[in-house]
């Protein structure tokens, strides 16, 4: 078939440190599923990895269209991996639209694997190609391996008597088989998984296994000239222990279950379907044996209100949503602040105002979390830095909520929610329990439902407790009795008490993730930018730059030493996937000259983008050739993400209804 013979840098490196592979195809091609299974086999092979699923908002976008392309990128290697990788080494393109929307991201000299069977006139037209890129010279700077995957799949599954349409559904498994061969991955786990998935349809399981094996055999036996070579990526040396892959949505769910157990409370989860937060509702709905009640409410407001009701009745109330849903919950959060009841609110942030970019990632709800309520309504805010980190952060959110009788917001984002990474399974016994206590009789002669303990928390009194009847509500309360009290002195006192309670939360001191506690430049991040910032700082330091990485988990209240720490650096750069929100918080709290580096394309930062930005502060590295320059006070120009056409997408297809979990 049409293979381009190009000198490839890949050929020299058959045992690379890290490889980035992107699977791209039509929404119906099952790319998320292929990616998910490839991730699993990669994890089982002992590589560290990070993934980035990128799919359209439409459930079944019209076939073959540019906006219907669904992609899954995985970066895996024999060293620590923190991001899904900047540019793919290998692009698997299942149709012309997938090639068109993804080719610009591929590294020069990278490998394209394309299904010629899908490069029909009709599909080329839909992808707005005037001529077939596999046949002209437009892909000259890449290695191209193009053959008829469709036909080979149909051939492989022929013995199972499937029609062509059904047979073609196994195309993704054929492709996965080839990928497994390329990277020397075991097929057994995928066989097992297919048998389990199609337990009730053994024919379909057999057909998919046949397709998988055929793809694998093709790699092994086909006498292919040039680019297709087997690569071995050795396992990353890891701490001994039990590992699994975990997505952020799974880790949040598990962390909430663990948090409720550590608090010795049943958990009540109120949710309403919204992308990308629904996965948490789905996970928790299957964990009823852990004392979890899940309630799919009539709307976002009812979801949070029911959770507050459950907290009032003595359970750990939890709700979860994304930006627009969080906006709807805002008034109820104010009530939870006013009535001082524990509550955990998970916000899986997505892009843009209003509906925005439902399936893309952003960090643009920080203002909403920190400042976004009526009245002086302070609430602790925590942010997870990666899928696995979300587990610990969810536990921390539960701890603060119960100890301080307060709602707590936990920020993740679309990237963290969907992406998977290997996770060293923690031992629950390693976490300090924080059992909730309920007041069952008055502490003095009189019942005082608002009299605070040494942490500023009011007592938790369950309705149903004899002799402890009292009333709570959203109207200003007397500072001890909790009776309605609008008097000027009381409101001043209550405002101060509520504020002090949050400010005095026992937030651990800020540490430096990488580098020194003072120096020329601190790159300060929060949330899912951890990975790219960490790698960029590592690279810059390797080049001799005096740059350190500070990653903030406790966004509100901020660690008490953070201001002093930041003042030890000459410059502070704050990369964020928003227009500079954390920068504002840092300036507001510490009067430091925090400089923004912003990106709002719906795509995570690339390491290279950050290395360039860091370079502007230093002499002699890329981005600052010719000497040290003034600090760039403007944000970087819009980054080229290469493949994001800005359309809204989401994928499900017959074979990709869910990620493996």
């Amino acid at each position: 078939m049409a293979t381009q013979q190009v000198e490839s840098p890949r050929e020299a490196a058959e045992t690379p440190e890290a490889v980035v592979v992107r699977f791209a195809g039509d929404s119906g091609d099952g790319m998320q599923l292929t990616g998910g299974q490839f991730t699993l086999s990669t994890a089982l092979a002992g590589n560290d990895l990070a993934t980035f699923p990128d799919f359209p908002a439409e459930i079944r976008a019209p076939q073959g269209t540019l906006f219907g392309v669904s992609a899954f990128q995985i970066n895996f290697g024999s060293r620590q991996i923190n991001t899904a990788g900047d540019a793919p080494d290998v692009l698997v393109a299942m149709n012309p639209a997938a090639l068109k929307t993804n080719i610009a991201a591929l590294k020069p000299g990278g490998l394209v694997i394309a299904d010629t069977g899908a490069f029909t006139k009709r599909n080329l037209d839909k992808a707005q190609y005037e001529s077939n890129p596999l046949e002209d010279d437009s892909l000259a700077k890449y290695d191209v391996l193009a053959f008829d995957i469709s036909e080979k799949t149909i051939e492989a599954v022929k013995p199972f008597g499937l029609g062509n349409k059904d047979a073609l559904r196994s195309k993704n498994m054929w492709t996965l088989g080839l990928a497994l061969w390329m990277f020397d991955r075991p097929r057994d786990p995928i066989h097992q998984w297919l048998r389990a998935k199609f337990r009730n349809k053994p024919d379909i399981a057999d057909a998919n296994i046949a397709a998988l094996d055929a793809g694998h055999a093709y790699g092994e036996t086909a006498e292919l000239a040039g680019p297709l070579k087997q690569l071995t990526v050795p396992p990353v040396p890891s701490a001994p222990g039990l590992y699994r892959t975990v997505t952020g949505a799974e880790a949040v769910s598990l962390g909430l279950v663990a948090g409720a157990q550590l608090a010795e409370l049943p958990m009540f989860f109120g949710g309403y379907p919204i992308t990308p937060a629904s996965a948490i509702l789905h996970h928790l709905a299957r964990l009823k044996e852990f004392g979890v009640t899940t309630f799919q409410a009539e709307d976002e407001i009812a979801a949070v209100c029911a959770a507050i009701g459950a907290s009032y009745a003595g359970q750990l109330g939890v709700t979860s949503s994304s930006g627009p849903g969080i906006a709807l919950k805002t008034e109820a959060m104010g009530l939870a602040i006013m009535t001082e009841l524990p509550l955990v609110i998970v916000n899986s942030q997505r892009g843009g105002p209003s509906t925005g970019l439902p399936t893309k990632t952003e960090q643009s709800d920080l203002y909403q979390a920190v400042y976004g309520r009526n009245g002086d309504a302070s609430m602790p805010v925590l942010a997870a830095r990666s899928p696995s980190d979300a587990f610990e952060v969810a536990i921390e959110a539960c701890r603060i909520a119960v100890k301080y009788m307060t709602p707590v917001m936990l920020l993740t984002d679309g990237y963290i929610a969907n992406a998977a990474e290997p996770w060293k399974v923690p031992d629950p016994a390693e976490f300090e329990p924080f059992p909730a206590t309920f007041l069952e009789e008055p502490r003095g002669e009189q019942l005082l439902p608002y009299k605070r303990d040494e942490h500023g928390a009011r007592p938790w009194i369950k309705p149903g407790t004899k002799g402890m009847m009292h009333r709570i509500g959203g109207i200003e309360k007397h500072q001890e009795t909790g009776n309605i009290d609008y008097s000027p002195d009381n409101h001043q006192a209550m405002t101060d008490l509520r504020k002090a309670k949050i400010e005095n939360i026992d937030v651990p001191d800020q540490e430096v993730s990488l580098g020194e506690t003072s120096g020329k430049l601190a790159v300060v991040g929060w949330g899912s930018t951890f990975g790219p910032i960490h790698q960029a700082v590592r690279k810059a330091r390797a080049k001799g730059c005096d740059v350190s990485h500070i990653h903030v988990r406790h966004v509100w209240p901020l660690p008490k030493n953070l201001g002093e720490l930041l003042r030890g650096y000459d410059n502070i750069l704050v990369p964020e996937m928003n227009t500079g929100q954390f920068k504002t918080v840092l300036r507001d709290q510490f009067l430091v000259d925090a400089q923004p580096l912003t990106k709002t394309s719906g795509q995570p930062f690339q390491i290279a983008e950050l290395v360039t930005a860091i370079g502007r502060y230093f002499d002699g590295i890329e981005g600052n050739e010719g000497g040290e320059v003034e600090v760039n006070r403007q944000q970087l120009p819009t980054m080229q993400s290469g493949h994001d056409d800005g359309s809204l997408r989401r994928e499900t297809s017959p074979q990709s209804q869910e990620h493996s979990s």
Binding site: F290, A310, P428
Partner: protein, 344 residues
């Protein structure tokens, strides 16, 4: 659920030390007394009773009842109450809402608490006006109601609370009014119903919509304008001289004259609280031409939401143990042996 233990209390036991802050003469006082009179009769336990409300005049109610109380936010009381009930199904919940709180800002939640059939008593105080915000027209205000927001008279069609509740799937719908001596009876029936029991209580806002229910609630001529429904009893009013019958051709209700108490001859309908079709006709029965249908219009229980939630949780947990360590280590896992080094 276990049958709750009956507790002996008096009306006084249900009064709080808080000053009641409704306008003097407000119908809410009468409702408060009716509720405080009903609770001892029910043998209710203050420690096990929770009053939950939204926002509005009616929603101040929990502050004045010596039980647990939660004054929440505008329109959302049904959602809070659902969470409370799911967290502790043993609690006896009374929801207090109004026409604005329950049918305007909170219409969605009211609909869903009724269709889910969460076991609680829902009292909707209908005064056909926004009182606490100084007298704007509400979703139940009659067409032409003059108010600060509708100076020439309102022009939107009023919602009918009982019809709304029945349409949403309520299994218990009743009506009463603030000063009615029969209100405790209605509340007792609501309490006896297992599931969401909806009671519309007409309430006189003496400041912004004074005496708007006088047509049927004023003592004078009340007999002619009130149809008090009783299960198994003929639908008679006006000193048993009139009754409600079915117009078989039009498939509607009609008022018929009853001579010498012979209601059977006049084909007067015998009330059947479990007849949903009849309930639909009663909630739609237009006052004026007809008397106001009061008492229990519909009562036909079915399994409650919390029962279903508990049953599902038990079924899903069957044969499973809550082993967190095992859960964390589930799925496809791999082990790294002790010879490996720490990650770079």
């Amino acid at each position: 659920m276990n049958a709750p233990v009956k507790i002996e209390t008096t009306l006084k036991d249900w009064e709080t030390d808080q000053e009641v802050r409704w306008c003097p003469g407000c119908g809410d006082y009468a409702i408060l007394k009716a509720v405080q009179r009903t609770l001892p009769q029910l043998g209710a336990d203050p420690a096990n009773t929770v009053f939950i409300s939204g926002i509005g005049c009616s929603s101040r109610f929990p502050y004045y009842i010596e039980s647990y109380g939660f004054h929440t936010i505008h329109g959302r009381a049904p959602a809070f109450a659902t969470g409370v009930k799911l967290a502790n199904p043993e609690l006896d919940i009374w929801l207090v809402t109004g026409d604005g709180d329950g049918l305007s800002i909170g219409g969605n939640h009211l609909m869903h608490v009724l269709r889910r059939n969460v076991n609680m008593q829902i009292m909707l105080f209908n005064n056909e006006i926004y009182g606490l915000t100084k007298g704007q027209a509400s979703p139940t205000s009659r067409e032409g109601t003059k108010s600060p927001s509708t100076p020439i008279g309102s022009y939107d069609h009023p919602a009918r609370p009982a019809a709304f509740a029945l349409g949403a799937g309520a299994r218990f719908v009743a009506r009463g009014f603030d000063v009615s001596k029969k209100l405790p009876e209605v509340l007792t029936a609501a309490h006896a119903h297992q599931g969401a029991a909806f009671v519309e209580i007409f309430q006189n806002c003496i400041v912004y919509n004074k005496d708007v229910f006088d047509d049927f609630a004023a003592p004078k001529g009340a007999e002619d304008r009130q149809l008090w429904l009783e299960n198994g009893k003929p639908m008679l009013f006006a000193g048993d001289t009139k009754g409600i019958a079915l117009d078989r051709e039009a498939l509607t209700l009609k008022v018929v004259d009853v001579a010498d108490g012979d209601w059977e001859a006049a084909d007067v309908i015998v009330h059947d609280v479990a007849n949903r079709s009849l309930a639909h006709m009663l909630v739609e029965m237009p006052f004026g031409e007809f008397p106001m249908a009061l008492g229990v219009l519909y009562d036909d229980p079915r399994p409650t939401f919390e029962e279903a939630v508990i049953a599902e949780r038990e079924k899903a947990s069957e044969g499973k143990t809550a082993n967190l360590a095992r859960l964390l280590g589930s799925g496809q896992t791999w082990t790294v042996d002790g010879t490996a080094q720490d990650p770079v």
